[in-house]
Symmetry: C2
Subunit: 236 residues, 2 copies
């Protein structure tokens, strides 16, 4: 796939919704189809397009019941894309995630002058800014690689230790989006609001949440306390 | 326009080519049409879509010859978009450029552990990584805002001082892409290769270039010398 084709894929809301579900858990066709508000024919078409473009791969596996094998889908790429569109700039870049990466970056724009006398000095400053941009893109690539790996571990650990897919889906959503309304989660999980609240309360036993005025988020204060507690206990 | 519609716009090569030309100079319809390899009907359709989505604005102005006013197009947004797609993460964000922005950022991932004992510590690390990501996005927004403003100034100054649109288009391309083959520039500018070489040699009088083995790039060494020379002269 050439780079910008990702834009074509992302240019459609159903495809974005499908990708979003696929990042949370492995999905088979009828599960995915139940999560989006379009016909299963449309879902099949979008999945086929994404498979053809190399964004998804599929495999067959036996379901829990007797019957034909289910077709599962996985996201097959790990990339961050950056693009700028202004009256003066237009560029895009895809960054491969994973691999050995930088741990620190110092970005400093203050040494690059804001005002310029000559065309030469403008061009020199532009090249310097572009140098800083490269450092920023490297840092972005590093942090997203780390977040990708860690999210994988969190998902695996949650299913291993607690084993509840819906709680894990709420945690995944909160980690990616910072916070969520009960309605967001209800739409996302295809559950009634009162069912979302019950599931969030269950999740709260393991990962402290703040559920207030219809908004759910991770309670970072309590998380730090719990983390401190665990570490103190370990030091005894 | 809701954010992700930009992906729809960028999902088409003709639209990307049109945007790319529009970042270099103000363009009227027949000029744009001559630069891309599709029918003028198709160009009109794509321009209309982009205008409808708020990416472009158009205005009419008299051309240099007697006749009907020409329709010009401008890019109407100034944003950087970031999106990550992996088996575990999918998100996108649009960053508005311009405005008062940070000058420095220190990104440090080294203090965030790579291995985790507990689910709680994994979640805490994920939140810390997300905090670093926010700093990176702020730095990206700042550097792109600065590059946008500076590119505008470079374009204006070049036309004011030297007045050659083709030379300026080569400079714009080199600043955005680092380097270019003669063939790239020939396609881009719709000129013969030998005409590109002549124009590059003219540009070289003002902004030092390295033209070697069919590849053109800005000669950063000579640029620094020239810049030093100008500054020294100023100090006398």
């Amino acid at each position: 796939m050439t780079e910008p084709d990702i834009f074509y894929i992302l240019g459609n809301k159903v495809r974005r919704d499908l990708l979003s579900h696929l990042t949370c858990t492995e999905c088979y066709f009828s599960f995915l189809s139940s999560k989006v508000n379009v016909s299963s024919t449309a879902v099949a078409k979008h999945l086929k397009i994404m498979e053809r473009e190399g964004i998804l791969k599929s495999y067959e596996r036996e379901g829990p019941f007797i019957g034909p094998a289910r077709k599962y889908y996985d996201i097959a790429i790990s990339r961050t894309y950056v693009t700028t569109v202004t009256p003066n700039l237009f560029w895009y870049r895809g960054l491969d995630l994973g691999g050995s990466l930088i741990e620190k970056a110092e970005i400093d724009l203050s040494r690059i002058p804001l005002e310029h006398e000559t065309l030469i000095s403008m061009v020199a400053s532009f090249l310097e800014l572009t140098g800083e941009l490269e450092k920023i893109l490297q840092a972005l690539q590093a942090v997203e690689s780390r977040r990708d790996r860690l999210m994988k571990e969190i998902k695996e650990r949650y299913l291993e230790e607690i084993g509840d897919m819906t709680q894990m889906a709420i945690l995944h959503y909160l980690l990616l989006n910072g916070e969520a309304t009960i309605e967001d989660l209800s739409d996302r999980l295809n559950l009634k609001e009162r069912e979302v609240i019950v599931k969030a309360q269950e999740l709260d036993k393991f990962i402290p949440l703040r559920i207030k005025d219809g908004i759910v988020k991770i309670d970072e204060e309590k998380l730090k306390q719990k983390l401190g507690g665990v570490e103190d206990a370990g030091e005894d």
